[in-house]
């Protein structure tokens, strides 16, 4: 009997395993639901308590690497037509060389999601707008293609679509004749995901881009911005961009 007890499953053991399995099966979707529920519900407005931003660690960003650019193009359906002057570029790698020291940097530049965006100020129809959480977007339904935002943006971050757009990502509507720029992958942020560029940079092991809430003191980005000297492009304009650069 003792051998039977040793090799077989006791009633108590069976009940314990059964309970654990049942509990797991029942709780797992709940845990998953909780995870999904932490993203903003569609009917819930973006909060101004949040200020989404990016930190670029320039020392980790390698010359010649364009993983972030490729990821952006794939995510947002931006195609290379072979005509670079009329192609849209939401993010680009800018190669820099200090005129005096000769030191080089390679940095991604995209819409800087300014606190005081000139594109929003000048847009005649209000198509350029800033969401409560600081993301600067273009309403493709009211953009009239005047290109004033492109004239006014100090970061050369806006493009106009010159070609017909096909095979669009349903999350990222684009339109010929409309101005556009980096949306910070707002469609991913609203589902609690990171922007495609950041995800690609992290996945490749570069870790040169950090995304997060600048207003949350507990977030990694806020702590790094507080701890290290970071710079803003064209800080003289006092636009307070949400994209910061460390190591420039």
């Amino acid at each position: 009997m003792s051998t039977n007890e040793g090799s077989g499953l006791s009633r108590r053991g069976f009940l314990a395993i059964s309970s654990a399995t049942l509990g797991g099966v029942m709780l797992a979707p709940g845990v998953r639901l909780i995870e999904v529920a932490s993203a903003r519900a569609p009917e819930q407005a973006a909060s101004k308590q949040v200020r989404w931003g990016l930190l670029i660690e320039t020392d980790k960003c390698a010359t010649g690497c364009d993983d972030c650019v490729k990821a952006c193009a794939t995510e947002n359906g931006i195609k290379d037509t072979g005509r670079p002057r009329t192609d849209a570029q939401w993010i680009r790698k800018v190669e820099l060389k200090d005129r005096r020291s000769g030191r080089t940097h390679s940095v991604p530049v995209m819409c800087q999601h300014c606190e005081h965006p000139p594109c929003v100020d000048v847009c005649p129809t209000g198509a350029s707008f800033k969401r409560a959480d600081g993301i600067v977007l273009v309403d493709r339904h009211t953009c009239i293609g005047c290109r004033y935002c492109m004239m006014a943006c100090p970061y050369k971050a806006r493009s106009i679509v010159f070609d017909d757009v096909t095979d669009q990502n349903p999350d990222v509507p684009r339109g010929k004749g409309c101005a556009e720029g980096c949306t910070l992958c707002v469609h991913r942020i609203d589902r609690d995901r990171q922007p495609a560029c950041v995800e690609a940079c992290t996945k490749a092991g570069h870790n040169a881009m950090i995304f997060g809430d600048l207003n949350n003191p507990q977030s990694e980005i806020a702590q790094r911005v507080a701890k290290f000297g970071t710079s803003k492009i064209r800080a003289d304009l006092k636009l307070n961009p949400a994209v910061r650069y460390q190591g420039l």
Partner: protein, 398 residues
């Protein structure tokens, strides 16, 4: 007792008039064809790209709008500042101003990359945008000049003409300021970013507007042989000469302030010395053709009508060159994101951006000019706006 001024429509046979309109229909038709071509294929068929976003149509539009503001000066001198010598030609001044503005606005609106959404442009107005504000300023300017124009023509309303003129005068100042600020407040581009552009636009408007007005006046009087008093011509050519001189001074102040101030030195160096076609257009087009040469003609004490017309034409050509340098040259110079660094990227950071206007853009721009000219010709034929003689010392028609 001084005789009354008799105003007359453009005379001549219908055949001759419609011949003129047929000529003016050529640039209009070509402009319309160019518009539909660009509208159909998109701006990909123009010389514009994601670096040079405002092209030749904007050059024509800005020139026409700036000229429209200044073309009203003669009317304002008559009705606001009491210069009686200009009173007989005040209605023409108002007409030229409105026609130029309509031509310029048509170009501006039809050059939208989503021209199908023009209704959106009219129904969604961002009040913090100078660009949007200008839409209000344009319409207000058109309305105020139209009311003033009506009060001039309608005898019963003549007594209110001065009040209407004062409103139009302030609106003129507002529109010139708004147009200057549109570029001057653009901190993103080193070539603009200067409040000096506001007074510069005001003097440029006086120059372009007066030149176009004199050309129209001379052409209209030549059409049916209306005599013009030498005194009136002398005053007009002096007005133009003063405006040209002021424009040269304003341009010198603007460019040399860019060159002198450290933060904008590089763009000043580019436009004044190293900018290739822009430098050539600045010195040869704007300064020599549009400034020194007409001044040399206008400063002579004895000057024929032909020479005055030539001076006006030179001012117009120089003005177009100047607006080209401001609008296109200002975009050709790269936006410097990282001062002190050499920049390069797949998006042409740190490079001088090339621009070659397409034939469609040129025809489209000329279409705007044709529209303004056709409006002036048609209204002059339909309404008695111009005295049949401009060589008498007369009291205006009661």
């Amino acid at each position: 007792m001084a005789a009354s001024i008799v105003y007359r429509e453009l005379s001549g046979t219908d055949r001759r008039f419609w011949g003129l309109m047929a000529w003016l229909a050529v640039p209009l038709a070509l402009g319309a064809a160019a518009f539909f071509y660009v509208e159909h294929y998109g701006h990909i068929v123009t010389g514009m790209d994601n670096q040079i976003v405002w092209g030749l149509p904007h050059v024509f539009a800005v020139f026409l709008i700036v000229a429209a503001i200044g073309a009203l000066n003669v009317a304002m001198a008559a009705s606001v500042f009491g210069k009686a010598v200009y009173e007989p030609i005040a209605p023409l001044s108002a007409l030229v101003s409105m026609a130029l503005l309509v031509g310029g606005l048509a170009l501006l609106m039809l050059d939208l990359a989503r021209v199908d959404r023009m209704v959106v442009a009219m129904t969604h107005l961002n009040t913090s945008s100078i660009f949007a504000l200008r839409v209000v300023l344009y319409n207000g300017f058109l309305a105020s000049v139209a009311i003033y124009f009506w009060f001039l023509l309608e005898r019963r309303m003549n007594r209110y003409a001065k009040a209407a003129a004062i409103v139009a005068f302030f609106w003129q100042l507002l529109l010139a300021t708004g147009t200057g600020l549109m570029f001057g407040a653009m901190v993103a581009r080193a070539a603009y970013d200067s409040p000096l552009l506001v007074p510069v636009i005001i003097v440029l408007s006086a120059t372009y507007g007066t030149a176009v007005f004199i050309l129209v006046l001379l052409a209209a009087c030549r059409w049916d042989g209306r005599p013009i008093a030498e005194d009136l011509l002398r005053r007009l050519k002096n007005l133009l000469a003063i405006s040209v001189g002021a424009s040269l001074y304003g341009a010198a102040l603007f460019y040399f302030s860019k060159f002198y101030v450290a933060r904008s030195h590089d763009v000043g160096q580019f436009l004044l010395f190293d900018g290739g076609v822009y430098t050539v257009l600045l010195w040869l087009g704007q300064v020599l053709v549009g400034g020194v040469a007409p001044l040399a003609l206008l400063m002579r004490s004895q000057i024929s009508r032909g020479a005055i017309a030539a001076a006006c034409a030179l001012v117009v050509l120089g003005g177009l060159a100047q607006v080209y340098v401001i609008v296109i040259g200002g975009q050709a110079y790269p936006q410097i994101l990282f001062p002190g660094m050499v920049e390069s990227s797949s998006f042409f950071d740190g490079e001088i951006h090339p621009y070659t206007p397409s034939v469609a853009e040129l025809l489209f721009g000329l279409g705007g000019v044709g529209l303004a000219a056709a409006i002036i010709a048609a209204v002059l034929r339909a309404l008695a706006l111009l005295p049949e003689r401009l060589d008498q010392t007369l009291s205006p028609q009661p």
